[in-house]
Every structure is written in C-alpha cells, then in structure tokens.
Assembly symmetry: D2
Homo-oligomer: 337 residues x 4
C-alpha cells in the first residue's frame, strides 16, 4: 500500500500515521520528493486493509498494490482449474456449449429444446425456472415445476442442468434438481446469496454484473470460494455502457484479462450481451478465438412465442450453423467444441 | 407500442403480426411510409407487453410508448406522497436529514453519534448492522447486536432508525428493531428482497443501483408497491461512470426527473456518491436546491477509526456547518430543514 | 511515480530498471515486500514522464503520484483566478449568467433575445455562429454573418459575447467579433484548436468533453495556458452515461472537485446536460448551491421555431423565474447573481 | 417519426402540431389510445428532421424511425464496399493487417519497423507524424519530417502509408506524403476536419470516438462521404467505460452491428483498445472471428524506448506469432490474411 501525503502535511500528521502503521506490526518506508512525500507500507495484506488510511489527516490518496482477492487468483493457483458439472469438464481443452431456453415455459418445450441442442452438440442444458425480471408484471418463471422439467430433460438427454438461484431459501430445491447453480448478473453483488452458493456442493456459474469491474467480479467469486466451494465458472455477459445498438457491451477483453488474473474457467454469454439474435454468431466466434472456455446461449424453436427474451434466442437452424463455424474456429485455436 | 418493420418485410409477415395482435383484442394501425412501414398498437398496456414482438419475422424494432410502471407513477397519483417514519414525515415541506455512522461498530459509538447528530438537527438515525462489502475479508457488520444498539439509540434520542436489510430471512429481526428498511444499491434488482420488503409494514428506503436507469429504479419501487407497501422513499446515491475523482457520479438530474415521473419522495446520499468527505457539503447543498426531500449522510467523530468508509464520513464539526448552510439554502427554496 | 514489479521479476530486470532511472538523474527507492517489490522514483516530474516504464520487462504496473497538470493547478496558484470578459469579472463573488440562443438564426431574433436576457439579468451573451452538428444535413450555423449579428447585439446591450470556435482558420474572425472564445465539448481534445485558442488574446470558455475525466479536462486547459493564455473558464456540461432520461448526466461533483484541483473559474451548462427544458431550473439552482461561478444557458422565445436544440431552450418567462430563484439561492450561499 | 403526446395535451395543441406538419407537405396519422395519443409522420426524411417537434407544447417525446445516415447505409448500397489504398484492397475476402510504430521516432527506426512488419505479412504501414497527446508536455510527433520517413519506408517496402491528420491546414502535406488519411478517435466529431478529409482524394481511416455511439460514428463517416469521398474505412478502437483493466473497452459487437448498418469496411485497433500488449493477440483473433476486415496494430522492437504508448506495442516476435494464429482463424472463417 502506498500512502500519498498532501503537500501541506505536517510532521505531526506524518508521525501519527507512522505510529499507527507500526502499531499493527507493519513496516513503513518514507520517501520524500520535491512535491510529495509518500509512505510505502510493507507487511501482511489483510492487516493493511483494515487501516482506514484515507481518513487520516494529511493523507491525499491511498494506492493499493496487492490484488484484493486470493483464492481465485493465479498467484494462489497457477494452473488452470477444471470444473466438473456432471460428466462435463469445463476449463480443459474442450470448448463447452451450454444451451437452452431463456425461461422454462412448459414440459414439452423444455424437452424439445433439450433434445435439439443436445443433438447439435451442446453439453450442458440451460433454462431459468426462477426469472429475475425488471418488471413485477412480467412472467416470473415456473418455479419448482420448472426445475422438475429441467431434471426430466437431463434424464432424457444426459446433459447436466444449469439454472439460476435467486433466493437463499431455495437452496434445498437446487440441491435436489440442479447440477450447476447460476448466480445471475443482477445478483453478482448479493453477498447473502454468494455465501449460500459457497456452502453448496454444486458448481457455480457466476455471471458478471453489468456494471461491475473485473476486480469486483473476482471478489464475488472469492465470496463463493471463501466458503469452501472452489468450483466456480466465471461468465462475461456484457457490461452497461452508453451504446444502445446492443443490450449490453460484450467486454471481450475480459476473457484474456481474467485468464491472466485467475485460474477459474471463463464463459461468455453472447445472448444477454447482444440482446438480439443477429450478432450472436459473431460474438460466439469471437469468444472462441479470444480464449473463452465456453458459451452459454439461448435457443428457442419459436422465439415469437418465448415468454422471455425472444428477440435474442437463436432458432435451431441458426444454432446448428453457429456450432459448425465454432468447431472450425476452435480447431484453429487448438480447442475442441 | 410502435412496431417498425424492416424495409424487406413481406406482406405475409405483416399479416401474421396483425393476426397475432388482433387475437389479443388489441387494435393495430398500419402506416406505410416511403422507407418504412410501422404498426401502432393501441390497447391494454399489460397485454401488449406479453407479445415478444421483437422476435417476429420482419420486425426491425419495437418502441414502447407507455411507461412500464404504474403504482409509483405520477399519472397514477398526481400529488406528492408523504412517507411517515416514526413521527417524521418525509416528502412534505420539510427537508429531512438522516445521519449516522456507515456501520454500527459498538454500543458506545452508536449512542454517541446518535446524540450528536440529533443535537445538530438530524431527524432519522442511519447505521448498518449488516454490511454489504465488496470483499469477503472486510468487516461484515455486527448483525443483530448492531440492530439492538440502534434500537437503544432510538430510545435515547427519539429518532427513528433506518438500516439495511440484505437477507430475506432477516425480516423478523427488522420487524422487531427497524423503523425503516433500507434496500441497498447492490440489491436494487434483488427482486426476492424487494418482494419481502413489499410485504413488510415498514417504510422502505430504496437506493438506486449504481448500474440502474431511473426507469429500472422506478420498476424496483414498483416491485415493493405491488406487494402492497406504498411507503417507499427513493434515494439517488450516484451512478457508475468512467470518472474516478469520485466513487460514483451523483446524478443530480435524477431528482427533478424522478419528481416528474413519480409521486414518491426522493432522497440523496452524498456520502456514497462522493466517497470522500470534502465535497459532501457541496453535494448536499445541491440536493436541497435541486428539490430533493432529504439526504442520508454518514457522520463519525473519529473517521480514522471507522470500520467502514471512513474517508467519506463527516466529523461533527463538518456536519454542523453543513446543517447551517443547508438551512439557508432550504429557506431560499421554500423548505425547512 | 511508483513502479510495481511482477512477482516473477528477475534481479537483472530490476537492475536494468534502476540503471535507466539513475541515468536520468532520478532517485529510485526499492521496497521489498512479501508479495511484491516496488520502486519509488523521486525527481523532476517531466523527466519521469518520458520513461515508458510500463513497457519494461518485469513491470506489472506504474502508478503516477504527481498531478499531470501544472499551470492550471491550485498548487501552482492557490488563489481563485478571476477572468475578465469585457467588463464582466468571472470567478469572484458574483455568480455570472451567460444566456442566449443555441444558434444565431437571424439578426432580428438575435437582437430580441439579447435584449430579453439582458433585461432579466444575464451578463454575457451566448450564441453559436458555427455549429457542430452530429449530422451533416443539419443546420450548420450562419458563419461570419452570425458573428456580425452577435457583435451588433453587444453594441446594443453592452453584453460581451461568447461564441464557439471550430476551425483554426477562423481565428482572425473571432479576433474581430468575439469577446470570449468557446471551445465546445466535441473539441475538448482537439489539441490543434486548443493551441490556437492559447495563442489568442481572448478569454476562453472551455467545455468538458462528454466522456472526458476531470483530469483530462484540466490537461486540455493546460494546453491553452501553456501557450500563454491563462484566461480560461472551465465549463461542466454533462458527461455521457447509460442514463437516457437526460441527454447527458450533469456531473455536479465536478464543480467542487475542480475547485479543489484548480484556481480557474467553473461554469455549468444545464441546457446541454439536460437536453430538456423542464429540469434546467433545478440544475441551475444546484449549480449555484454547489459553488459554481456561473451558468451558460439557452433561451429562445419561440423554441418551436429554433433551428437547433429547441427542446432544451427556456422561454423568457421560465428564464425570468429561474433568475429570481437563483438570486435567492446565491444569497443563501453568500454570492450575488 | 412518431410524436408521443402528453396525457394532458389539449385539442388546440394537437391541431397546431398537425398544422405545422401539414404545412411541410408531410402526412400525419393520429392514433388515440387509452393513455396516450400518438402522431405518426410520414414523408420525406430530411424535411421531418427540420421540425423541432420536441419543443412543441403538448409533446412528451419524439421517436425517430428512419436511420439518420444515408450514403454510408446498407440501404443506400447493399453490397460491401472495397476501399483501395495503393494496391491494397480493403474489404474484400482478404483480412488486412496495418502495422507499425505508434509514433514515427526516427528515420532508422521507421525503416526498420517497416521492413520487419512487411516481412511478417503486414500490408499497410501505420505511424504517427503528428500525435494527439493528452498532455501538452508529451512528445507531439516529428511533423513533416515524420511524414518523409514514412514515405521513404513506403519506397523501400511498397507498403502504402496511413497516418493521422490533426489540422485542416496540413492537408497539402498529407496530399503529398500519405496514402490513407487517418482521423483519430479524439477528432471523430471534429466536423471541420471531417469535411476537409471528405474533399481529399485519399482514402480515409476513421476511428470511432471513445465516447461515440455507432450511429454517431456512421454520421461522422457520412460527413466525409457527403463531401464526395466514399473511400472510408471505419475503425472500432474501444469505447470508454468504467472498467479500468484495459485502457478502453473493445466493443467487439460493433463489428457485426456496423456490417449490418453499413457497406463500409470495418477495422479493429486492438492496441488502443487494450492499452497493454499482453491481450492484443486475443483481441486480434476475436476481430478476425467476428468478421472485421482488418486490424491496425502497433509494433515496436524496443517498446521500452518508444516515445509513445510503449506499453501497448508488440515486439516483432509477438507480432509474428499473432500473424501465424490470425492466418489459422482467418482460414476457419473463410478469409485470408
């Protein structure tokens, strides 16, 4: 930690800061320049963070040096992690495709979509039984009934199921029906929910909040890991910017950036990033090329009857063509869809 | 709702769209221009929203006309709402100041701060017993013990207490100890929590998410109201932008904008918007001048020992001077602190 | 400057960096922590900046300590600057109102608006003769003819004129007709134009770019000052964010933040921040309360016939009422409109 | 254009609006719903845009239907455009790589880099002779001398040269030395410069402003085209967001979005988007996969001696490896580097 002092700092203020630092068994190094004096603080990371140094008189600025996360960091674990979801291994050489409807709408439609995407090469089934909707008047999901349909689709196809948890009181339900627990973008900083997910024995798909930095995203993953669950897959799904051509702006750079900072696998969700079906193929190909470990994508045979986000669903023909192209790009970068 | 069709739309596609609209007892009006054909849809609002028209073949764009919220809207209730918190009336002629520590740290400090801010003119006591922290390794709050200290401070000073609810399982605790339930910025789109708050008999202070538009903010309030609890105070607390001089960017325009769209009272939280103590006075005065109904501000006599957000806390002397100036500006705009 | 080294840095890399620093007569201080080694560099500011240290092998991150600007900084000149525009002094105790049409449209309209705003208390006349328009097919301004009408309005009312310079080849025209040269938000980083403005003998109104940080804004002012022209008034006019209720998001915090960093006067442009007339009064009152030195606002008696930005123009009645309220708030904060 | 009327609009206001519309030979269609009345306006595009309808009494909102650009639009020219730069054809089946130093620093270094990138497969030489720098105290480029070195490098390697124009008064210089005129991100809305570029006989590389929407970007291209120069290549180079891990956020979605809206070729600049060398390969591969027509990338054999942006320059070894991988991905998507 670097403490930058104000130009008008007094010697008493400096002494007071040095005292407080030394009391915590930390070592301060003072460097006096022509325009500013700075204090470097060396020592145990967590102890340093407890000092509210910004609030000390005479302090202009405090600059952290160490990364705020630990368990999710590559310095903690240099090799790539592989997360197992059922029999599917996420994060190795394979590029994994999770596909399915935005929301679970009916038993028939769920089974139909599951069989379709399975036949076209998807390895994980996605589908929301509990849906976070901006308006209280929108379709909120089928709830437990939806989880049952997903479980039935898993029996039929063998694909493990990823579905979103919104309420800590639903943990027993998800223990029973889900193979992977999704924490949605809106709940990325719902720390209550993150802690619950961290106590579960299931792998977690953690989506990046739409206005969260990569560092905050990794700290949310740290919440899950610090409860003992290291099976986390991170998912970039677009951040909010001023651009309105797309629902969100896919931060494709986040893929290689996270790969450098963390050992956890990284997915991309092109559907929510785009909010429109016509550019999803381009974004998915970009995800493969940029080094992502997989995508999670929405497929619906009748988007115009979808109860949620129809405009961004691929029809099976689009999905089939996209899978074909993704295989070619994956091969070019040494991976396998 | 306006449906803009693609230049290459076919007559079959148009007919199909008109069919679907008519089936729902809605009335479509077709206007054919030289470059685009558009369909205006007239009829009952909620029905229109269930159509995923963006997903229909031949559709380029869909433009909503009606506002997506209802109970919180000024069209639903033209007169300003007044929300009662204990004996304090928020939203009338008075400009209400809620003040206190960021986090409840100890019994002594809580009582000391409560008495200080009460003596200087604050009407509501703020303080967090459960703290949403970006890092799992930061101080997470005293929990129930903190609620008890707040309740004791209320007994001493008579000030009602506002404190943040993070977990739906804590509702009974908040029923017992809190006078007003705060939903924090990170949980603005935690719809599970919003519904629980809507079922409570307590007024709600709903903070705007740092990544949320005013419309989404009002829809979150609609979640609370639609469960039967109309006692909602909205709080602008800064949005996330590219600027780094401040922790967030206070969207001062949101105050008059929300006042036009909604009848609910509007607060400003200058502390979290700024993230630094030295501009809080300016932001608070701006809030009064712009027409806010109150502020919620952090005060701590020893910021350098604060366990959370010390850098943005005012010391009592700063708070006293700010109260003095706020009174003058409030009088200039016809209000009373 | 602080150089944070990678955990895997080699001693050779460290030595190489120290060598390069020492060659420039700078003094490096090495601090070795458990997880990172850092090098503090002390010495003459400009020299340090020429080192592309981020590109050195073994370097993880480089953190500047000193502010990148100089002439515009409060450390360079602690007292507030006053900028004279004709007989008007901007930046002292007075709160200055510049008002007028968005674009100069005709001689008659220009004179009529000038007399109106002058009668209501405006001290400076604004109006665009050259207009930066997003579309090449929009009205681009009257050019030199417009400048002449503004000059005539100055003769009639005595108000000095501020108008926007877009082309370095127009400097002679502006030397002849303008009292204050405006650099628009879109040209804040047009360094060619900034240098020309710096060579002129006229005061400059520099608008903040809509996606520029405060630091970049001050560096643009530094471009003007470093050419010898210290008569710069800074103008916050809203930044671009995800919020769409307003055209831009007025960054009201920028007012006190800039006041701390710089001695230059600060204006607010509520018209372009809002993009709609109905909240301009609230924003203007907030500007006074937050400590701005003035506003620049659009007034048009017939907004529905305005050739540019009609939706954000105040009619004279609105302007009159706003002036009345601004006077009250100004008095409350110890200033005078 | 759709005009949404306020709920409290009067019949007189409606009649007035209809009158004004009809006067312009436009056809209004009124649709009366339960909560809002809307007026659809059909007719010649440019005429509609001259009406400042937002400013009419009784109007709540105005919604454009037609796209604001014309010459750059795919509706104007459905087939992809190919832009010739010297003998290089941009926008066909080939994926074009422009490479070179950020700034031209010396004759020797320019020739050396040119030969290196040429040998590795680059087709166009990039390099800045005039440099837009945030600080007036940074290296501002060699000016005309730099242009001469670039021209000499062209003679040696046969590669055409793209370099940035910052000042309309430099047009004759660029006519003499450059093969392609770059308009930088900071000048994307410098309409004076855009018009000059439109009058030149050289192809233009137009970079997206970091604060500009895709629509505004296309309107800036429209400025160039409307002066008669249709040889424009658009370049996505990252937009400004809250994320700080990268200098800007590469908006990879802009590639397919622009391809749908416009016939012009689209480049990606991974160097300025990233601001760091270690993720440039990932971004470049993503650009190929997403359908871009080329990249423009910074290469420097000694980044630690670069006078500008050393941290984001690739060394030749990195560039060689990236070219190798780009060839594989290009082949996978049916293109050729």
């Amino acid at each position: 930690m670097i403490i930058v002092l104000r130009p008008d700092v007094t010697q008493d203020q400096v002494d007071h800061i040095l005292d407080e630092i030394t009391k915590l068994d930390l070592r301060p190094h003072v460097s006096t320049g022509e325009e500013r004096t700075i204090i470097g603080v060396i020592g145990e990371e967590d102890v340093i963070r407890t000092l509210p140094v910004e609030a000390y008189p005479g302090v202009e600025n405090v600059i952290p040096i160490l990364k705020p996360f630990k368990l999710v960091g590559r310095e903690f674990k240099p090799a790539n992690s592989v997360v197992k979801v059922g029999d599917v291994r996420i994060g190795g050489d394979a590029f994994t495709v999770a596909a399915g409807p935005c929301a679970v709408e009916s038993r028939e439609m769920t089974l139909r979509i599951a069989e379709t995407v399975h036949g076209l090469g998807a390895k994980v089934l996605r589908g929301g039984a509990f849906k976070p909707r901006t308006s209280p008047y929108s379709f909120q999901g089928l709830g437990e009934e939806g989880l049952k349909y997903l479980a039935e689709a898993r029996e039929r196809t063998g694909m493990p199921v990823v579905t979103e948890l919104m309420d800590p009181r639903h943990v027993p339900l998800f223990d029973e029906y889900a193979d992977m627990v999704q924490i949605g973008a809106r709940n990325m900083a719902n720390f209550t929910l993150l802690k619950e997910a961290g106590k579960m024995q299931k792998p977690v798909l953690l989506k990046r909040g739409m206005m969260s930095t990569v560092k905050e995203f990794l700290l949310s993953a740290e919440y899950v890991c610090s409860e003992g669950n290291m099976n986390v897959v991170l998912c970039e799904r677009g951040i909010r910017t001023f651009e309105t051509e797309t629902r969100n702006t896919l931060d494709i750079s986040a893929v290689p950036v996270i790969k450098q900072l963390s050992h956890l696998p990284v997915f991309v969700d092109p559907s929510h990033a785009a909010g429109r079906d016509d550019i999803i193929e381009s974004l998915s190909l970009a995800a493969v090329a940029a080094g992502a470990d997989g995508i999670i994508v929405e497929v619906h045979p009748e988007p115009e009857h979808a109860k949620s986000d129809g405009a961004q669903a691929l029809v099976p023909e689009q999905f089939a063509e996209m899978m074909h192209k993704m295989r070619a790009v994956a091969q070019a970068v040494g991976r396998k869809v």
